[in-house]
Symmetry: D3
Subunit: 241 residues, 6 copies
Amino acid sequence: MRIRVINPNSSLPMTRAIEATAREICADGTVIEACCPPGSPLSIEGHSDGVLAAHHMLKLVEESGPADGFVVACFDDTGVDGLRERVSGPVLGIGEAAMHAATMLACRFSILTTLKRSIPIIEDNASRYGLGARCKGVHAANIPVLALENENDDHAFSVIREAAAAVLEKDGSDALVLGCGGMTHFARRLGDTLGIPVVDGVSTAVKFVEALVGLGLKTGKTGGYAFPLSKTPPQTGKEHV
Amino acid sequence: MRIRVINPNSSLPMTRAIEATAREICADGTVIEACCPPGSPLSIEGHSDGVLAAHHMLKLVEESGPADGFVVACFDDTGVDGLRERVSGPVLGIGEAAMHAATMLACRFSILTTLKRSIPIIEDNASRYGLGARCKGVHAANIPVLALENENDDHAFSVIREAAAAVLEKDGSDALVLGCGGMTHFARRLGDTLGIPVVDGVSTAVKFVEALVGLGLKTGKTGGYAFPLSKTPPQTGKEHV
Amino acid sequence: MRIRVINPNSSLPMTRAIEATAREICADGTVIEACCPPGSPLSIEGHSDGVLAAHHMLKLVEESGPADGFVVACFDDTGVDGLRERVSGPVLGIGEAAMHAATMLACRFSILTTLKRSIPIIEDNASRYGLGARCKGVHAANIPVLALENENDDHAFSVIREAAAAVLEKDGSDALVLGCGGMTHFARRLGDTLGIPVVDGVSTAVKFVEALVGLGLKTGKTGGYAFPLSKTPPQTGKEHV
Amino acid sequence: MRIRVINPNSSLPMTRAIEATAREICADGTVIEACCPPGSPLSIEGHSDGVLAAHHMLKLVEESGPADGFVVACFDDTGVDGLRERVSGPVLGIGEAAMHAATMLACRFSILTTLKRSIPIIEDNASRYGLGARCKGVHAANIPVLALENENDDHAFSVIREAAAAVLEKDGSDALVLGCGGMTHFARRLGDTLGIPVVDGVSTAVKFVEALVGLGLKTGKTGGYAFPLSKTPPQTGKEHV
Amino acid sequence: MRIRVINPNSSLPMTRAIEATAREICADGTVIEACCPPGSPLSIEGHSDGVLAAHHMLKLVEESGPADGFVVACFDDTGVDGLRERVSGPVLGIGEAAMHAATMLACRFSILTTLKRSIPIIEDNASRYGLGARCKGVHAANIPVLALENENDDHAFSVIREAAAAVLEKDGSDALVLGCGGMTHFARRLGDTLGIPVVDGVSTAVKFVEALVGLGLKTGKTGGYAFPLSKTPPQTGKEHV
Amino acid sequence: MRIRVINPNSSLPMTRAIEATAREICADGTVIEACCPPGSPLSIEGHSDGVLAAHHMLKLVEESGPADGFVVACFDDTGVDGLRERVSGPVLGIGEAAMHAATMLACRFSILTTLKRSIPIIEDNASRYGLGARCKGVHAANIPVLALENENDDHAFSVIREAAAAVLEKDGSDALVLGCGGMTHFARRLGDTLGIPVVDGVSTAVKFVEALVGLGLKTGKTGGYAFPLSKTPPQTGKEHV
């Protein structure tokens, strides 16, 4: 089974960290192909970055070979719906995967992301997935995405650990979801420290896509995820009439 | 990895069909232990059957050895929350598993169950999981649970196929969820016929529990799924004061 | 009119307190039959206790004579739906009764229960009844159910009173719902102290069931509360295939 | 116990029918005072009628003596919130009472009202009470309110009965709520014919107010239903500046 | 274009302030006719005041000449639905207008009103408009409506400014909605001070009604806002049967 | 006032039709700058087209001069949130504008779009804006976007008119929203034919943006629509590790 894990931003260190997580967790027969689209923003911090990254991700997938399933490794689930139209295999965003998993393990969960500006994006996603009522809060650790790149950065870990403990106390949740693909290498350590399930989207999405591919299930093609329609010959052009 | 697949009703043929599905789909290293609680109702058709079955299921688990993960193979997800309190490993109902999976594959899904009386139970579950808005309808094929026991029953298959086609047309959904553990052996054939993802809860729950166990994730024990409290010495008795 | 008031746990002192409340509040012509199922957990603290208690309650009702209406005296509304299938007369849980009543008296209400682990159960019930938006918060006094058994326990009363005052301040609610059948004897005293409507589920459920029986209304039998279906001859058995 | 039953419109025949229903159903010790405000619209068919009727109802209550509880006998629950501010005793609209009762008796209910224009008003009320998800549909029999005044009108009954049967079939509901105070005298006959619980708001509201008064519960006065504030000396006047 | 701006209470100073705001913001061709109904409460503080004011407003509109569009200048949107039935042109409440506008400018907004008793009214309106999820909180500055009449009252401004700053900090909102028609003259100053969009309902409603009239759009007359039905000859009268 | 009206697809005829509508409806002092991004898909039919179009739209805005307000003329509201981050003036999608306006004019509305595949996108948007409950249905006329380009195409008009009439009958709505920027030139004719408010997003968005700019309101910059963060020096690159 071949799973393409796409980091929609263009940070190589983050892509490598995501790849390492995916390879560590995947089944023996699974081939992980991690990649990131050149030209995409270095990190996805807000809607505008997301628009650009989604576009570059679709272009990258167009140029790549086939795969059995796809993981979109940005917690905002940037471009997931668009990608579902383009391919047949299952596509899972890491935000989506982590939130669904959290509801299978705990009565209530909280999400810890990097920056305050991402909160409404994640809240809106949780609502759209229907998981808003189970999610007691989305919180920001106030740490930039790129500051998470180094797995051994004890300062970054300690910022996240303290923020996480405060969040659990405030929300009364019994599970924590890590709200950024760049936090993936801190997940296990954090779970051990906090004594609750800490759900990392990257590893969860890899395992859930493995599951869906193993079930022989593919993206439905008779509704909103049908393949894109081809257009009539172009007449395009910039128009300031 | 050892996964206990519990059919909460006491039908041996249905338990065997569930077991066959689980063993066919599970990973190489996974040991499936299928069982059903003696004394439980022969089928779960409504709330009252569910109450009895959940009780017998908890008793059965109490007497059984340990497992890494648990599947509750009734689409009503009977007793899932109670079981989560009793064990450490992940517990997944087949209704829950199938509905979550359907939202990963399609924009909208419909559920086809056996009897009309199960519709409000399933609708309420979908709402509680937050998936009610993605579920365009819960419908009954008007076929009793026990009539599904025989995998080669062409009449049962044809009743389900026709009901499924009508449901998809009416709801405009792009995926179908099979709303009864007893339909598990019809899933693949139905998917091939209908040309859309047909999600069977039994196989999906097995793969998702494998995924969660593989991730090292366990049920949260600091909130609503904490282990049951022990009681002070019994003073119980029937009281018609 | 004969109303069976079932305390689903097996605590005799709590059953007696519930019975006293019911008899004090009921109309002249009403006969209260209070009972609790032997073998049930001594208190219902979480989902697992609830599963066992619901089972014992259904067994108890099966063996008892007829009644015109039923009250299930556990704030979790344990087994209410199952019981509705088994009988014709109206069935009301005390959680349900109290929450509905609170919305008739105040713009917003808060619930004070015993233990933190019960919060998600009660929140989920409130949502299922549709009353989640009117309920500004479910809070735990952190006092075990069995510590409430003594009506004259000034310490227990004072713990509850202080917790209640804090809850009302925090939530800005104009009514309080007592979230445990064992708090029933504290209701009036608490209402006098706090100066707001304090709704006790036991007394409210008794009066509402009296009202429904008086109206000649019975549980609907054409949908999800239809009488349980009889099964074909048993083939049950424990199965570890 | 003295219950004031206010028909907010000014139809005497409807007021008499409502009074008859209330007196038939109330407890022995209850005194029913039925009244309707002169100057109010003859029937309440839409928002504008409701605004006028609510005003006349508040004026009428101001001039009347005290009562222990109040029923507002218009299914739109016209002016209920305003009345709650003015009095201490419990106030219940018949729409509200009937909808809450229906959820205690059935998994799903439907509402049958008189005119199409009332549908969004009732739907919005159901949503505000949180009961929108349990209510499978609000339907109009297309019969004017005033055509319901005669209890023995077989034509009116037959129009309602046929509409009701169609509604139950379409919605798959197991209870029917009568969506107009003028239908009150048809309730029992309709329930007998249809074989399901038919909930009439007038009788239900009377019994629920009896229950709330019997419980010693009053309207909360510390929040949104606090007594109206007195104003500083008037400077009012029509102003077309 | 002629827009009637109705202050449903009878405060002349507030009507003049509203008028000034409307005239300052309206387009060159727009004629603003500000008015308030004599006999209405001096301020609208709660449901009961709202019932009376809505009635007086409808009477005032009945006696006034035609207009192309209507603004109801009370943040509770008192009587808006009733007025929509009476006229053809668009009708907009200032609460409604401000909340819709806020969602066009910011991810999340908070509302600051005068008195605590208005909070549930405004929360319920936000829910009915569907904007409850975007509204992170409704808060009271604890200042009576009539204390806002003087535009140059620095104390009133400073109370509001401090309350607003606290609200934004607590809710994490990026826009503020002024929850009282009497705050209209403080809007711009407050926006400048706080550095976020401060939405005033009066000016927003005027501009949105201008927009709707300019679009040639009128209130729909085939559903819930159809013109009121005429009644059969009156038989009304006060009835204490 | 300068309003940039961006058609996110690259169809020149559609851009011209949108421009004509915008210029016809705008105020005297308003300058309309209509444009479409070269390289964008010829039409936006689904998520994938939307991702590409949003990217091209952001690039186009980056290269264009300043404007006081922005209209995104695709009913899917493609890239609206991203654009809000990039500019200071108000940004409005035509879907959003039309849905908000419809709730100001009617109790319930329906949406008629072009293709079935767009239904879940529009339904999700309606939910996110909170307007899902007021929207009784999203329906497809089954006509491709590009077939709408010719204003005088009587066949296209007649397909839409018949679909619209059927939709209103089925949903019981009292307003219709045109669910595609390409339908803009049919709006008035359709409203005249159907006798209900027909809301066109293009003209409505232009008027609402005029209103917001006239009010001096800008996009909030302290939360989810803050200006994009600049990134550290690029290290990007395609990575198939």
